[in-house]
Amino acid sequence: MKTSTMKSRWLAILASAALVATVVVAAPANAAATGPTCDGKTPVQTCSGTTSDGALYTMQVPSDWNGTALIYSHGYGFIIDIPAGVPVVGGSKVDNSAYAGPDAATDAALVKAGYAIMGSGFARQGWNIDSAVKTNVELVGVFKKQFPKVSKVIAWGKSGGAFITQSLAEKYPTLVDGIALGCPVLGTVEAELDMALDFLWGLKTFFDPTIKGGNYSAGAAGAGEAITDLVKMFTVIGKLQASISTNAWPDTSKAPDSIKAIPPRSALLLVGLMAGIPTKSTSFDSTTGPEGALKLTWPLAIAPAMAVLENGAQGAALAILATHDLELQAGGAFYDNSKTDYAARVADEAVTFNAALSGNTALNGLLSYLSPLNPAAPRLTANQAALAKLRALSTHTGKISVPTVVLAGETDVVSPAGNTQWLIDRYAEQSAAEKAAARKADGGSFKAPKNKLIVIWKTGSSSYSKFTAAGSPIPLVASDPNSNAHCNFSAAQHVALVKLAVQGATKGSVSYDGATRTVARKVMTGVIGPQRFPALQKFYMGK
């Protein structure tokens, strides 16, 4: 995600119901390569232009340039303007601007450190991996032609931009010397969409069956349907927030009274668990309770659902907007839960979160309601041609050829930790094969291949929830003191991430050495990779 477009505004619920979206065709501003046009300024020269696909680009080169060029890929950008009244994502405009880094402070710090920075706005927004990789390859060529004294190229990106970066490194391993991935989406977009759409389907099924939840129409009609879904989804989330104290189901729910006898927070939590939504969020750590009678009950029975609610607001927004985007690209509906075994998906969590799920009897009742045999909970089946087309979009092999540094949030809801774990698993396989090959080739004088992946998990504090004297939770989204929100890294953390990748590129390898550990602990407020094994996304269960 472009971080600026996904800043959550904790449940500022929309009152109006009908908003009209303007469909913006994400056409490039220009149709042919131009530039680069450089301003010749010192101490930082700025260049701009367009690649042959019409994508805008920008470059900044300091006078004391150290020869290392950083190419940045921004994350997912919306393909339609979002009306201002929509919570969380409202007011976002289609943005084709070029970004050489994630924010001005980071850009300035990197340039001050002697790096040249560059980045594209890409030829289209939305899920654009294949197109963006092509653009980046061309942009690196443009830069090298303009500034021939390049010694190293480091690619980096955040969220969907990290997906682009990994794809670039996999397809053009000699083009880059190292990469840095922040809060990455990795593997396949299907895993992301599966999480988001399972959550949306659960919300729809339990709380508002009028949510369309995909299979959007083409053109303006489809954009309007997506915006309408956004409004309905946030309205339901607002009602669920209110229900925490009343146990009243949203009035849009069509569930029978036997189901409505179960607290709606339990149904919400079930939806979150079966989708893989984290049970720790920006405001809710799921361990701290208010002083008084609810001190233990709150974290046990209520906080997990509140965290899912807060996280789900972002997850479901992604579900709707990215689904609209990718259905347009794929030519139809690709989400398919016709065979998903949700009971199996929550088997372990059913024990851990049993109190919050209101016990096995309630849980079994909720799962029965979601059964494929229940006509009130219709499952969705993909258009197979559209699914095939979706799967033809860029996916990763997970192969790592250049030093790679990852900084990932443990509870990031938009790009869950399972993305990074997927890459760790693939690299473990690759590394084992490389070691075996080295043993075979060296005939006894084994020399271990160089390590090319390190991961830093941004963990933050384990106890940070705040409550008023009356025991009400205090939303922390505006400040996000524990940096739990999607890709919420500081400029210092961005710079540290890039520097680790540059050091790795210089040495040809990366390691969890003392210096890296110190950076992880002091700058990233995190821990190094081997200390964590987060679960893969639910999409991978049984695969």
Binding site: V351, N354, G359, F533
Partner: protein, 321 residues
């Protein structure tokens, strides 16, 4: 190096999935939960149970009911999660028939809920009511029952029969009087038992004036077994050698328990049975008739048998051999 004696099924499960000790090769020794699933060495290869499973407990309860309450109407209150699922499985294997079963969701227990439970047990005219839940549920149930003068024969599971915790909730231990209870280790008041005497002496010196209760005895017993495991793992113990030591020698470790453990290269099953007692007005559990009659079984379809197990003698000075 290892996790020692983590408490609670949900907690251990959460750690298993989020910290993943199995994948990291970290031993999780002597978990304080009777969830039978933790003995599954495929799913939890580094986890070792120590308490008898809830399935075993329910099977032994069922056997005791068969022997002593044949023809009586039996009621069951159980926690509506894996704890209770294990119990239901055990009672089913034992062939126990219930006049009424009442589930409660963890966290929902309290005085108001207890009044509703009692209404159901009264309506079913239960002669014996089994409380297979946590101590706070027992507190709520027995506290409200005392107020309502509802007094069936209570039978408490080992988890919910913790007098110390019950007293901490403000309910007097006297409500436990005459209830039937189950324990794998000797009565904490039994100073004729060499383990109890030895452990209580150490505890009195370490924490003068602090009550030597079942929690303390079980905790010290776990520490005692851990020390033996470490010694058996060699001078430079590793995670692997520690687990190998339990696999090969754990079944012979000295322990205060009156029933054997099931450790072997293929089994991480902990203790395998209970003796049956009744609670004194002080909340202390003592063997019925003054003699320990122990029952052992497994978590499957194996029979419940009266045990002839002879536990190892306390090593000299309590130090591992």
């Amino acid at each position: 190096m290892a996790l020692i004696a983590p408490l609670g099924t949900a907690n251990v499960k959460a750690v298993a999935s989020s910290v993943n000790p199995a994948r990291r090769g970290i031993p999780v020794l002597f978990v304080n939960t009777g969830f039978s699933g933790f003995a599954d060495t495929k799913k939890y290869p580094t986890t070792y149970a120590v308490l008898p499973s809830y399935i075993m407990e329910a099977k032994i309860m069922g056997e005791y009911i068969k022997e002593n309450f044949a023809g009586k109407k039996i009621g069951l209150l159980y926690q509506d999660d894996d704890f209770g699922t294990d119990a239901l499985a055990g009672f089913k294997t034992a062939g126990t028939k219930f006049a009424v079963t009442v589930p409660y969701a963890s966290g929902s227990q309290g005085a108001a809920a207890a009044a509703g439970w009692i209404t159901k047990f009264k309506a079913a005219e239960a002669d014996v009511v089994i409380l297979f839940g946590v101590s706070s549920a027992t507190s709520a149930m027995l506290g409200v029952a005392a107020q309502l003068r509802y007094a069936p024969q209570w039978m408490l599971g080992s988890v919910g029969g913790d007098a110390t915790t019950i007293k901490l909730t403000g309910v007097p231990a006297g409500v436990l009087y005459n209830a039937i209870g189950f324990s794998p280790v000797p009565a904490t008041t039994d100073m004729t038992d060499e383990y109890v005497k030895f452990f209580s002496d150490i505890y009195a010196k370490a924490l003068p004036g602090s009550a030597f209760d079942l929690n303390v005895l079980l905790g010290m017993n776990t520490a005692f077994m851990t020390a033996q495991a470490l010694k058996a793992a060699g001078l430079n113990p590793t995670r692997k050698s520690l687990m190998a030591a339990i696999d090969s020698k754990g079944a012979t470790f000295a322990s205060s328990a009156l029933v054997p453990v099931g450790y072997s290269k293929t089994s991480h099953v902990g203790l395998t049975g209970y003796w049956v007692g009744k609670y004194a007005p002080t909340g202390d559990l003592a063997p019925i008739g003054g003699t320990y009659v122990t029952y052992t079984t497994d978590s499957g379809s194996g029979a419940v048998v009266k045990s002839t197990y002879k536990r190892p003698a306390m090593p000299a000075k309590g130090l591992p051999n």
